[in-house]
């Protein structure tokens, strides 16, 4: 579907798209940064950048990919600029404890902690696949990897989660 050409129609369309995608953009940013405040800032900055470049968006179908790319770059830019300190993952988990809420089922909470502990290289493609719903080809394009590399990382991510949560069997690869 092509986007409206110009003017107020395009602005309204763009605003609607951003509003629809904003929760997913926030969640993606959250799982990149593992920090709620950073995620909020990243998304805000990303949407501002997207607004300034809105004329470069050509089709509605590419909007999600485009916005995710902006979020990813903004997170990378922030990380580079601020040299965000590396923290112990358990600290992160404890800091996030208000939202790793008691109201969540125990297994969801355990899974969330386990995902937090995944290396970035495993966590990011997993989030793009399971949360955002991208195909492995789209993920490869997003991350600048081969499809084979993406498949390997996804497999290893799941293997690690199975092991952490005690779901693995004797036949699971190390």
């Amino acid at each position: 579907m092509n986007v409206p050409l110009a003017g107020k129609d395009r602005e309204r369309w763009f605003a609607r798209i951003c509003e629809e995608l904003r929760p997913d953009l926030f969640r993606f940013a959250f799982w990149l940064a593992r920090d709620r405040q950073v995620a909020e800032d990243v998304v805000q900055e990303s949407l501002l950048r997207a607004w300034r470049s809105r004329d470069s968006l050509e089709t509605q179908d590419s909007a999600r990919h485009w916005l995710l790319t902006i979020v990813r770059r903004e997170h990378a830019r922030r990380f580079e600029r601020k040299r965000l300190k590396t923290v112990q993952v358990d600290e992160l988990v404890n800091e996030e404890s208000p939202e790793l809420a008691v109201a969540e089922e125990g297994e969801v909470l355990d899974m969330r902690r386990a995902i937090m502990r995944l290396p970035d290289d495993y966590r990011e493609p997993l989030v793009l696949q399971v949360l955002i719903g991208q195909t492995t080809q789209e993920i490869a394009s997003q991350l600048g990897l081969t499809q084979g590399a993406v498949l390997t990382r996804l497999f290893r991510a799941r293997q690690r989660l199975r092991r952490e949560l005690g779901l693995g069997g004797p036949d699971d690869e190390d």
């Binding site: 799982w31 995902i115 799941r158």
Partner: protein
């Protein structure tokens, strides 16, 4: 395909199986169970990834105006803005300046949630100000809302400041130069566009408010700095 190859393929993408993978699943009960376990785990992964998107994540204190649903109306003042019509008691200077004043009012009308905010994150305020090429003298005003908003093709700081008379909206319009102040009145809503630095500042609030003091404070509080990226 052997079981190891199946588990690697299924482990990478359990929701999308090739015909070869499907055939192995149908022929191997152990691998079929492995896949079932993976799909159950993926359902848990999906739930776990759906972290709550709190009110601050789609923060009404930071959301650009284009993201605001026009139906949101939270306060009586906002309702009066919606109901206001540009007739009767409106004092406008004719021509382009009337258009500017009208657009400023319209912009505030689109962000009624800005009046409901009680606290703005200082980090976000700082970012909004820097993006607009300004600083505020420390302690000069109490900012309860800050957003970088598209306005006339540019991005401008939109602030709400707390005063003893209620919230006052401020738009910093670097690119809109004025030679003299313009007074604005529309129903219960009034304010001014005042020349400031290279451009102007729009200041408006409830008509019961005395805006003279906050206007004077803002005129001295705003310090103009270089826009980010300028000179590069």
């Amino acid at each position: 395909m052997n079981c190891l190859e199946f588990r690697r393929a299924a482990g990478a993408d359990p929701g999308h199986l090739t015909p070869e993978v499907t055939a192995h699943r149908d022929a191997c009960p152990a691998c079929a169970q492995y896949l079932r376990d993976l799909l159950i785990m993926d359902a848990t992964i999906r739930k776990a990834l759906q972290v709550p998107v709190s009110a601050t994540a789609v923060s009404t204190s930071t959301r650009p105006s284009w993201a605001v649903a026009p139906r949101q109306r939270w306060l009586a003042l906002a309702a009066s803005l919606v109901a206001g019509v540009l007739v009767g008691s409106v004092l406008w200077i004719g021509g382009p300046r009337a258009s500017l004043a009208r657009e400023v009012v319209e912009h505030a009308r689109q962000e009624p949630q800005s009046f409901a905010a009680t606290h703005a994150d200082p980090v976000i305020v700082d970012r909004v100000l820097r993006a607009g090429g300004i600083r505020l003298r420390p302690g000069a005003v109490d900012v309860t809302y800050a957003s970088s908003c598209p306005f006339r093709g540019r991005v401008v700081p939109h602030l709400v400041v707390r005063t003893e008379h209620g919230p006052v909206t401020v738009l910093v319009l670097r690119e809109e130069s004025l030679t003299r102040p313009i007074r604005v009145r529309e129903g219960e809503f009034r304010g001014s566009l005042v020349p400031a630095g290279p451009g102007s500042i729009a200041i408006f609030g409830d008509t019961r408010s005395d805006l003279s003091e906050i206007t004077a404070r803002l005129e001295t509080a705003v310090e103009w700095i270089e826009l980010p990226g300028a000179g590069q």
